[in-house]
Symmetry: C2
Subunit: 199 residues, 2 copies
Amino acid sequence: MVGRSGLEFVDSRGGAAAAMNTAIGAALISMVCNLTIGKPKYVEHELTMIDVRSRAEELRSLAVELAEADATAFNAVMAAYKLPKSTDAEKLARTEAVQEALVGAADVPLRIAGAAADVIALAGRIMDGANVNVISDVAVAADSARAGLQSAITNVEINRAAIKDESHKAELAASVARLKDAVLTAGAISESITARITG
Amino acid sequence: MVGRSGLEFVDSRGGAAAAMNTAIGAALISMVCNLTIGKPKYVEHELTMIDVRSRAEELRSLAVELAEADATAFNAVMAAYKLPKSTDAEKLARTEAVQEALVGAADVPLRIAGAAADVIALAGRIMDGANVNVISDVAVAADSARAGLQSAITNVEINRAAIKDESHKAELAASVARLKDAVLTAGAISESITARITG
């Protein structure tokens, strides 16, 4: 169990890193779709590529927004910890404010994890129909989004560890458990593409 | 075996992504060292933190340089493929130029992979002595560098597949095999820290 006391909660950059890894994955997916769309050789995958490109662009924007949201949620936790705690009433108000802020600070990485899992799913949708000249970028996208997902899960967990509401803790744990499958999916996509490349 | 004919080699962004994931990992390691150095509680780890911070800063710079080097190496491959191929002499010169460029294009991601493996090793060196308030960032650093490493390996492989010199191919394969251990190390670091966080 990791202590989270004091004013040293400076791990918002880890949240930004998770969001950035996810955005890189989404950007690569979008690039691969762009380099596949309009090519006669891949015409049967055209509709999939157009749909995936649009989703990837949404996810890239979302990831960038979530990097900012993560910084905001982190600052809210910092601010709550700085509340006065001289009287019992102040202590109670501070504890409540900290707990509320922590719930927000766990929610943002959970949304980053969700976006990363969606990017991984997009990689899965295009891996068979993508322009073979850029197939390695689909693997890179999956690996980058995998890092985003794994990092976001770590960030959920560190906040979850400090949350006292047992039912909310259990909810977060269930959400994380559902998202963990996508870590394995990303690994499988990357390995399968590497196997194709190395023949 | 993936075809690499024509002028569609636009996967330099995958190389940039690998370098960027590595740089993110290095930056987080450096941040964690900064937030550990000077704190009485962690005084016994002070020298390790100072040394690791210095190495992490070097690796971050190196990764940024390698992102540029990757673009240059990629452009060299593009340029070689654009050489004339009307006569047998031209064809021969073009093939030689392409092969030379491909060797360069495999070498840069190999160096990115090496830098990523070094970042993972730094994460391992600080995971036990780092400020516990930012321990999650060590896991995020390992996950990000892992993505950089895996992606760089994919980029080595796609270039290796088009290289004809069997002895150079074998050398690259051996280098990749050595680096793959660090993928597992990164996973172990991340898992071990997550286990500490979730208690």
